[in-house]
Amino acid sequence: MTTATLEHGPAGSAADAFDPRSEGQRLIKAWYADLEQANERRQPVANVFVMGNAIEILRAFDFKLVFPEINSLQTGVRKASEEYIRLSEDYGMSPDVCSYVKADVGLMLKENRHPAGNIPKASLAIASNMCGTFIKWAEIWERWLKTPTFVLDLPGQRAAGWQVRPGDAQHASDARWVEAQFTELIARCEAITGRKLDLDRLAEIEERVNRMVFHWNNVMRLNRACPAPYNAMLDGLTFIGIMNVYRGAEEGVEFMRRLDEHLQAKVARGEGRVADEHYRLIFSGTPCYVSMRRLVELFETWGGVFAYSDYLTFAAGGMDATDIVYDTSRPLESLAEVTALAAHRGLSNQFFAHERLAGQIRDYGADGVVFHGIKSCRFVSSGMADTREYLSRRLDVPTLYIESDLIDPRYWSDAQIKNRVDAFFEALHQRGGGPVGRKANEERRASA
């Protein structure tokens, strides 16, 4: 099993010069620009989701990767989502359908003209059972665009407290199940590209993913520091974008390496995302990309920072587990083993999530949990009431529930959300809130 390339240099001035946000934006722009050329250059293109996607295999065949979820959220970030969503509603889609799907249907109705550039037509779509909507979504492409679908059936959480241990009988049989599907997928890719799978190429890609995941884990861990060097629901969204789009690419490794260095330097200087960090929070659920900056601002006004979000785990396909390292001497088997682990990890953040969330509250020294419910995303939102009940009644952890949408601006009600956020902080303050964050801040000041 490879453990190479896990070393990294000391945090220094090069780390300071790195601006993760602008570098992240540059990379996303470059990725869209590259996609625009794909059909013209006759490059194979695949649609993939952020959870359960076999990117490593596709990269080995030089597929250009389209992430429809990221296309949809980018319409939100660029404040153009409403137009796309309305088009799909004019077509007949209900307001209750996942707005990522609707923005994508709007994109098809606009003949793939996206605010970031033209999106190429795909010759293959990989869906998975990680969210049932993926399969329905792929079905639309298959019918409208004749894009053949390949659905991966990935094993996930079986019961509360169920643990998958690398190498145990259950994991071995899960991995075999996944590997059989990969073998079928490889045959499909070979038919599309007219090339045989190059296992050395796959191993190289996996090697890069290993390095990326190593830094990604560090990035997640570094936010346990107080003050937190970044906001998981603002800066973190840029990081996860790179983690998904550039997984297995050298640019992705470099970004994560520099980010890791940059954040280590920030932590060493005691520099937080929020100047005076009072409250450390966990965000559970999917973001409201269309108003995320405003939402974060509502919390930061009170000195509240999102130190962690389960979104950073499940929407990166569950890649932030320390035991996720590819054995590049057995690239295909190892890919299947890791995929089975990552799927489990990603799903366990959503199913039977109570204990895991309780652990994250301890790990990140959180003063409370903010749930962001989205009516159209049942995968993430259905269990929130129950998890919330568990945290507030059983563990006495303050929680806040707010509701809007992923990218539909019509669901954002500023005054209502602000009122809930302000009342949450007033209640936190009244109960003597922010003990962890405040104590750490005081200690830091005392030692300064």
């Binding site: 405003r294 509701e403 005054a415 009122n419 302000d422 009342a423 007033e426 209640a427 009244q430 003597g432």
Partner: protein, 318 residues
Amino acid sequence: MIHVAGIDIGSTYSKAVLIDEHGNVVGRGVRRTGFKLAQASEAVFDELVANAGVARTDVTYVASTGYGRHTVPFRNTQLTELTAHAHAAVHLFPDTRTILDIGGQDIKAIRVDGDGRVKAFRLNDKCAAGTGAFLEKTARYLGLTTDDIGPYASRSTNPKPVSSVCAVFAESEVISHLASGVPAEDIMMGAMVALGGRAVQLMRRVGLEPGYMLTGGMTRNVAMIKALEENLKDTLRVAPDGLGQLNGALGAALLGLRRVQKLIAEGRPIAAVQTPADGEHAKRRRWSAIAVRRTEPCRGDGCSVATKLQPRPSAVAA
């Protein structure tokens, strides 16, 4: 002589209460908010000082609350109405544990502890069907004024249920009931029963802890209180002397008074309550999200709300 004003700029009504240093209510004011929030706050403040028989300059401190709390130009501090309601409720009835506030555009359930601290809260979803606006709409269809609603519904012998979860669809239901000859008082009472059901459901979501209190404009509506109590199978406390509608403003004033006492005890100055120059009302822009961003946190005496809302020492230690 200390005078502290609490000003609650709600979506439908603006309410104001003036208290003295002992927490006694010495003045009050209520008026429709309209769409010019800064002007509404000035007007209700003028009404308040006139009612109390004091000058604006006699007011030591102003605490604002409600949706328009950021738009009160002369505020010293601001806080949400959830915190304000909780504090006033326990001040008036120390054994209050669950509060229901039915406002014009929202409805809140708040669970509090014995010190008036918010333990849990829930607000209605983004639908008006569980709010005062729903009743007002129904009344308007039946040709009634808001004040007539209660006495009119009290005559009902067979309330007609209104089942829709949407205020707009509920209106169509009302029309169809009227068309099929259902007496208007039964429709009105049916609307109240529906509202009561939704309100009690919201209370369940914070946990029904006995010691119930109703606040807001609905406290003036005897039929509504009855509908709620029947659903709750318990009694609801209502603030005496017409203070129910003013509960949020009273809570803000009481928390403001606590702040003043702390400033005095620490020998720190209290910033004077500003009086706008002539014509300044007209210059103020309408409230918007941008305005909110520009005006917070409030700048009264140089500290943010977080530091102004001082918890009791025991709470900090807990």
